[in-house]
């Protein structure tokens, strides 16, 4: 439980591919449940992107959004995997 409340580590600003179509949202809150980064908040019973730069494009929200309101080009932010993919080794597998 240590250091739980330390300031959020954030990566580069304004780069992620997260897209949200509020008109499709039915406010089920699944996106906020699965997001490990606190990207989503709620206003007027609909989701809003609250902290876009915290998004890591893991794809959990888009996959579990029953309304199809979220899209993101999901992947793992791993330089090793990207370098491996240059040499087409293990089709861009990371170290895990």
């Amino acid at each position: 439980m240590t250091e739980r409340t330390t300031r959020k580590l954030v990566y580069l600003a304004d780069v992620v591919t997260l897209r949200f179509e509020p008109e499709k949202c039915t406010g089920c809150r699944m996106c906020a449940t699965v997001c490990p980064r606190g990207v989503w908040a709620f206003a007027d019973k609909k989701a809003v992107i609250y902290d876009r730069d915290a998004c890591i494009e893991c794809g959990a929200c888009a996959r579990n959004c029953a309304d199809g309101a979220i899209s993101v080009r999901a992947g793992v932010g791993c330089a090793t995997a990207i370098i491996n993919s240059y040499f087409s080794k293990d089709k861009g597998a990371c170290c895990c």
């Binding site: 580590l9 579990n64 992947g75 990371c94």
Partner: protein, 351 residues
């Protein structure tokens, strides 16, 4: 295939289920340390299927995990004195989050696990609790449509499960956020350090051998002074990129990992570069300046590159972000590294 951590069997309407304890043995702990150092890491798995923790009955919760033993051990050791069914999904020995990212921890695998364990004959509830970090791979509603079992996402960390279960399967905000504190970063260091060690040793050896070509003190004497110093700087660079950067991550300035690494490399190199400069006698100042500057460039670019490699182990980088950083950083690192080698060699040959 006997698994040493299975300490008996629990009789259920669907037959015997292997029983495990929440207490980790010395062997379990040793295994955990070994894989953190990369030893046998890709075959540290648990046989997929249903396990009984304690003495679960038909009302017990069902907790789903990956078949990486480190994941499984984290789960069971978080639940001392509790009874639960643990459903281990076949993720090919990969941990929860990585398996979800690769798609091996999926609704199809969870559903297969539920049916193969004949879970509906064992528990009364029609609900399984998934780790939150399986959500990138598991479409929860597909588990329900395939099996009739509702799949809900529990907390990120197994250690929060007791509080989550006691609260009636309600997670607090903090349980839903992935932390990355000092302890969580330090355990990752060996897997950053060990795989790069051979490259660092190779580069150190190359600089050692080349160093003797310059100077006026003879090959062996130059190698023992300037060569050893260069080799030492290479190893310091390895530490800056793979150890110092992860540890100091929140405090190193900038958002880009290469920048953080470059700063860590510069910080670690500065006192040694300064000492080398001051310790040298008069004469050959230009050559020495080139030599020290070259090593500085190697330290900075090398640590930047190694720091960039840490992105995949962290909890807050995105694929788009890493791609953007690499487009700028990798060419710079190669250029600076090559310039560093050239400058250092020029300094050596000129002295």
């Amino acid at each position: 295939m006997a698994q040493p951590f299975v300490d008996g069997a629990l009789e259920t309407p669907a037959g015997p289920v292997p029983r495990v304890s929440s207490l980790l043995s010395a062997a379990d702990r040793r295994g955990g340390i070994r894989v953190r150092w990369g030893i046998g890491r890709m075959r540290y798995d648990v046989v997929p299927g249903l396990y009984a923790l304690g003495a679960p009955d038909a009302e017990a919760p069902v907790l789903v995990s990956a078949n990486y033993k480190l994941s499984f051990d984290a789960l069971r050791s978080s639940l001392p004195g509790r009874s639960a069914f643990l459903l281990v999904v076949d993720t090919q020995g990969i941990n929860v989050w990585c398996a979800a990212g690769k798609g091996t921890f999926s609704a199809a695998e969870v559903s297969r696990g539920i049916s193969e364990a004949r879970l509906s004959e064992i528990v009364r509830s029609r609900r399984v609790i998934l780790p939150q970090l399986s959500a990138p791979g598991v479409t929860a509603r597909e588990v329900e449509s395939a099996t009739g079992f509702q799949a809900i996402f529990g907390p990120i960390r197994a250690e929060d499960l007791p509080a989550y279960l006691d609260a009636g399967c309600r997670a607090t905000e903090a349980m839903r956020r992935k932390s990355f504190d000092l302890r969580e970063r330090v355990v990752l260091v060996p897997m950053e350090l060990v795989p790069e060690l051979k490259w660092a040793v190779a580069l150190a050896a190359l600089l050692l051998l080349l160093s003797g070509l310059g100077g006026s003190g003879g090959y062996a004497s130059e190698l023992a002074s300037h060569g050893l110093f260069a080799a030492f700087v290479v190893l310091a660079t390895l530490l800056a990129g793979t150890t110092l950067t992860p540890m100091l991550l929140p405090w190193l300035p900038g958002r880009a990992f290469s920048l953080k690494g470059a700063i860590a490399g510069a910080l670690l190199f500065a006192p040694f570069g300064m000492a080398a400069w001051l310790a040298a006698g008069s004469g050959g100042r230009v050559a020495l300046a080139l030599e020290v500057a070259g090593l500085g460039l190697i330290a900075i670019s090398g640590a930047a590159y190694l720091a960039l490699n840490f992105t995949g182990s962290t909890t807050f980088t995105s694929l788009s972000g890493v791609r953007r950083e690499m487009r700028l950083a990798v060419p710079l690192e190669i250029a600076f590294g090559a310039a560093g080698l050239g400058t250092w060699l020029a300094g050596r040959l000129a002295s």
